[in-house]
Symmetry: C2
Subunit: 280 residues, 2 copies
């Protein structure tokens, strides 16, 4: 199968690696507006060739849009227009609602399969590509009823070839859930990094004192601002909703500690411990 | 050397494992008020024998207090009283100021070396003990000028035998820095867990959608409420100070996103990215 990957970053590059390794892709075409990324993708053998967006869409059985959600939104009309008759396009975006609404009017909407693989790292760009990034993770397919069943099947086969678990959801549900289970983690981590950077003027203190706990909580603060800017723009109401809940929880801790209510603080932490049981 | 470890949990148990493996300890005595913990410590071979607190203190070259900081505070007078003439006691507590102030009046203060190894995991109890937990991490020694130089050297030799880096600091500085580099990470993680647990009534949603990013940010929410209750009690002013800075940073994100100021949000994330350079 010919797979065209638009956006040769962490997600696009990692997909390319695994789809070639498992034989699902027999030919990989890459597209990226950044010439440095296409050069690296060719040098590293992530893709076989680089083409223009329209050329890559025409030649592909599946086009994968692995660019920030703002770029997905702007590229999608041209991509749908350029697809071959049997071609399918799927996007890897972290938000779904706005993309779904804007695609709704397109004559070839049924060739689009909205998807979101729940996988990533804090790094970006083609050099961040790693194999087995997707293994065991969830691939969410949204609004499948608006896509041709055969297009959905093709995309699901791609995800299953990576040993992903397929979940179905509508786009609105998706955007709400990911605000809670993914977007807020990033904001809490960015804010934590800023707090420490502002207070600890001495970099050596941060470096010397940072334990594994701090490193893991602050890990996501290394994430791509370009990617997350677009996510926050497209998911504003849900992100604000979860931010308000989060601030409320932080305030609960602040109030209890300020009041010397340490037993109540203890009880709150015990409640929070339950996350360990669920994630196990 | 005979090492008595008071508190056979994650820290005490992990110390026992490595100090035996590297030959620093020739005899390990364990103390724990929880009979289940002493049984496991003996079964797993973490310690050679279990004794009463006073007995363990009398027999030891070094007594290590690896219990929550509230218990360190209450046990310390008896421990100092029970030490042999050349015995040394060191504590592994995450806060130092209050313990230092309370120990100041003790006749044998100079046999106490205040320490804090910047290492841990989110798990607790003797079954959580792991080898090489301390390797490459910082061991902070506080207020060394109030301890006998020979006692400090003995404790430093113990940490160095674990390949730790020794840092010196006064107790007040210590408590401020760790509020920023460790305590706030835990509160942010506990609060994140509560936010998600409250909103996502369906456990399967959390389980299915949780990606690596969420898992790492929420990891510390599995930590011991007993340990952290005491830390927050003993470090209240610094913890409130850092909580206020953190809430302010979260509010900055909230305000910018609510106003649609996505470019400013982008700039804020770019600033936060700097943490990656420093932690490298």
């Amino acid at each position: 199968m010919t797979i065209s990957i638009v956006g040769l970053g962490l997600i696009g590059g990692s997909l390319a690696l695994d789809l070639r390794a498992n034989g699902f892709a027999t030919r990989l075409i890459g597209v990226d507006e950044n010439p440095e990324h296409t050069r690296i993708a060719l040098d590293y053998g992530l893709v076989d060739e680089v083409r223009s967006l329209a050329g890559a869409c025409m030649a592909a059985d599946i086009v994968v849009l692995a660019v920030p959600v703002g770029a997905i939104r702007s590229l999608l009309p041209l991509v749908l227009d350029s697809l071959s008759e049997k071609g399918v396009v799927t996007d890897m975006g972290s938000t779904k609602g706005l993309i779904a609404r804007e695609a709704a009017g397109h004559a070839r909407r049924k060739r689009l399969v909205l998807a979101h693989p729940m996988a990533g790292t804090e790094y970006s760009g083609p050099k961040a590509a790693v194999s087995q990034l997707f293994q065991g993770k969830a691939a969410i397919i949204c609004d499948a009823e608006h896509s041709d069943p055969e297009a959905v099947q093709k995309v699901e086969r791609m995800f299953k070839s990576l040993f992903m678990r397929i979940l179905h959801m509508n786009a609105t549900e998706h955007d709400l859930h990911v605000a809670y289970v993914s977007h807020i983690s990033h904001i809490s981590s960015f804010a934590l990094a800023l707090t420490v950077l502002e207070k600890e003027k001495s970099e050596s203190n941060i470096f010397n004192l940072a334990s594994g706990g701090f490193a893991s909580t602050v890990r996501l603060a290394k994430s791509s601002p370009r990617m997350w800017r677009d996510v926050f723009e497209q998911n504003t109401p849900h992100v604000l909703d979860v931010l308000d809940s989060y601030i409320e929880q932080i305030q609960r801790f602040r109030t209890l500690i300020a009041e010397g209510a340490y037993e109540e603080t203890y009880a709150l932490m015990q409640e929070a411990n339950d996350i360990g049981r669920i994630l196990k």
